[in-house]
Amino acid sequence: MEIVLSAAIGILAASGVWLLLRPRTFQVIVGLCLLSYAVNLFIFAMGRLMVGVPPIMPRGGFIDPTAYADPLPQALVLTAIVIGFAATALFLVVLIAARGLTGNDHVDGKEPEA
């Protein structure tokens, strides 16, 4: 499982960075999305990987913490998803405004002279 997850994070991050460096605004925003997916998975993985273990502990008595997943990264990743989603939406609006104002979708607002 570790290898699958780390490969997923790696591929997502690599594609994200590559797209981020492309000249079209649409490529940049897709790159940012992929990068944020990679980051979210990474935060999740920092709580250690466990399968079929609940993050919420029952009430009362002594319990064995190793039988439960770490709830904190799950809370963090939720916050990160919400914030990232909002920021991406805002970026999308700016991107469309830039397309409308400049008439093309280059990140610098004009095509480089060939």
Partner: protein, 536 residues
């Protein structure tokens, strides 16, 4: 007098939050009401910040009794804490001092140029204050995102192709920075199991070797995110265009945005990698020194090469960032904490002066028709409904002797930024040089390089600003522009603060020294036996 004094720490976050939310209910035509709410909120925040400052001053010199506030009264490692110490209180007061003039300036017409200016402004204040107060890494991320989201909106305020293009770059860079920040935070959590700054500081010396490397990687990634915001070279190419493109009051407020990055670097570096951090002590100091110096150099070249005042002002922001980063690097590497005190004093002075300069740019380069023409144009572009209860834009008290007032204000800013007497900039630079060259330890080559860069930056600032000053005040034939009293009063207020800082330099420097001493605790006393074992 205050019903529950222990809750005051959270007031600088809650006041702008409620003010901003309240203003969202109103229609954008109720500008006078919005302005009043905004001003009252900024004033109340400033009063709270001043009270917190006087409380922080009463704390013990070693930071023995910190102002702590536990949100929801959860205990420290589980709950989130707000911490008010000398550095936080200083930054809060600085934010308040910048916010009021910027708002008054915006009242002259800028706030009419687009929707929701005042709400965004209040949310920016909330994010800034929260970032300065929080004692938890993830909470810091949340407040950072808050202030960034507000700053995206503010940067785009007024619209236009230049702003949208600069905003596009600014948002892309900062979203990438936030991704780095998140990776860093989660690595730190994975390596140490906590996100509470104070608890982290206690854990760092005893981290096992395998995890220390992970922890360093996480801290380095987080540091990268803050350095992007602080504008370190080579991560600063977005900054000049973004600062230039912002509307005047927005750019004046942005003068503190790089300082948020600097604040976090100062706070976390000395907390996590100070002298007591065992094997991690001094981590990152070489990067700060080298990067800071490169930033100063880049800023100097930018100032000399710039054609317009906007670009010069933006590069001045870079010079100021670079100076403080380098000073922090030296202190982290073991230099005297007096350098840090001088750097903080310099920070206060340069932030106020840059902010005043950003407010001066637009009136100085104003064409025929003044702000009224400009606003009429944007009102057309937006199809804004002009049925407002107030008078036409641009109406109001114009000041006499426009050119001399503008010229004197500009001169004062130039003196403060170049570090010439009699203003406080001189004292800050003098303190830095004194700490560098006359400290307890003999200065090495790097100290001399930094000293030379400091003096060179002062000279370049003077050359750049004088050139612009000559062009706009002496070599003009056109009739002087019409400048409103509402626009010049905030500039005067900021310059008044600079003069006050120069007059009250002794208490201010004393405060900074205490702050620096609290940030940089003296090296722990090591028993002689172990010391000889460790020594090579």
């Amino acid at each position: 007098m205050i019903p529950a004094p222990e809750h005051l720490i959270i007031a600088p976050i809650l006041i702008p939050f409620f003010a901003g939310a309240l203003m969202l209910i109103y229609d954008d035509r109720q500008r006078r009401a919005k302005l009043a709410i905004s001003l009252v909120s900024a004033l109340a925040t400033l009063v709270c910040a001043l009270e917190l400052l006087s409380r922080a001053k009463a704390q013990g010199p070693g930071g023995a009794e910190l102002g702590l506030y536990r949100l929801g009264d959860w205990l420290a490692p589980w709950g989130i804490v707000l911490v008010n110490d000398r550095l936080s209180a200083l930054m809060l007061v600085l934010t308040g001092l910048l916010a009021l003039p910027a708002l008054v300036y915006a009242a002259a017409g800028w706030h009419r140029q687009g929707p929701h200016f005042h709400s965004l402004f209040q949310f920016l204040l909330m994010g800034l204050n929260g970032a300065f107060l929080t004692g938890d890494l993830f909470n810091l991320f949340v407040f950072f995102e808050l202030l960034l989201a507000a700053s995206y909106g503010l940067l785009l305020h007024g619209g236009g192709q230049l702003r949208v293009r600069a905003g596009l770059h600014y948002i892309a860079v900062n979203l990438t920075g936030s991704a780095l920040f998140l990776i860093g935070v989660s690595l730190v959590y994975g390596a140490s199991g906590t996100l509470n700054m104070a608890q982290l500081a206690g854990l760092v010396p005893d981290l096992p070797e395998g995890r220390r490397a992970l922890f360093h990687a996480g801290a380095a990634l987080m540091g990268l995110a803050f350095l992007i915001k602080a504008g370190i070279w080579p991560l600063s190419f977005w900054l000049p265009t973004a600062y230039m493109a912002g509307a005047a009051p927005v750019a004046a407020m942005f003068a503190i945005m790089t300082k948020v990055g600097l604040y976090v670097i100062l706070r976390l570096s000395f907390l996590l990698f100070g002298a007591g951090a065992g094997a991690s002590a001094g981590f990152g100091a070489p990067v700060l020194i080298a990067g800071g110096m490169a930033t100063i150099l880049f800023g100097v070249i930018g100032i000399l090469a710039a054609q317009g005042l906007g670009r010069i002002a933006a590069h001045l922001v870079l010079v100021s960032s670079g100076t403080i980063l380098t000073a922090a690097g030296f202190v982290l590497a073991g230099a005297d904490s007096a350098i840090l005190a001088a750097a903080l004093f310099y920070l206060l002075n340069s932030t106020l002066a840059t902010s005043a300069l950003f407010l001066l740019i637009e009136p100085m380069s104003r064409e025929e028709g003044g702000i009224a023409g400009l606003l009429a144009l944007t009102a057309d572009a937006y199809g804004l409904d002009e049925r407002e209860e107030e008078a036409a834009p641009g109406a109001g008290l114009a000041i006499p002797g426009t050119l001399s007032v503008l010229g004197l204000s500009f001169g004062a800013c130039a003196l403060a930024l170049a570090g010439l007497p009699p203003l406080a900039g001189f004292l800050g630079k003098l303190g830095l040089l004194q700490g560098l060259l006359a400290g307890a330890r003999a200065p090495d080559a790097l100290h001399w390089v930094f000293a030379a860069l400091l003096l060179g930056a002062g000279l370049a600032t003077l050359i750049g600003l004088v050139r612009v000053g000559v062009q706009s005040f002496w070599a003009v034939d056109a009739p002087p522009p019409r400048v409103l009293a509402l626009e010049i009063a905030p500039v005067m207020a900021l310059i008044g603060l600079l003069v006050l800082l120069s007059l009250k330099a002794a208490p201010a420097l004393g405060y900074m020294q205490q702050t620096a001493r609290a940030l940089v605790p003296p090296p722990p006393v090591v028993a002689p036996a172990t010391a000889t074992e460790v020594a090579p």
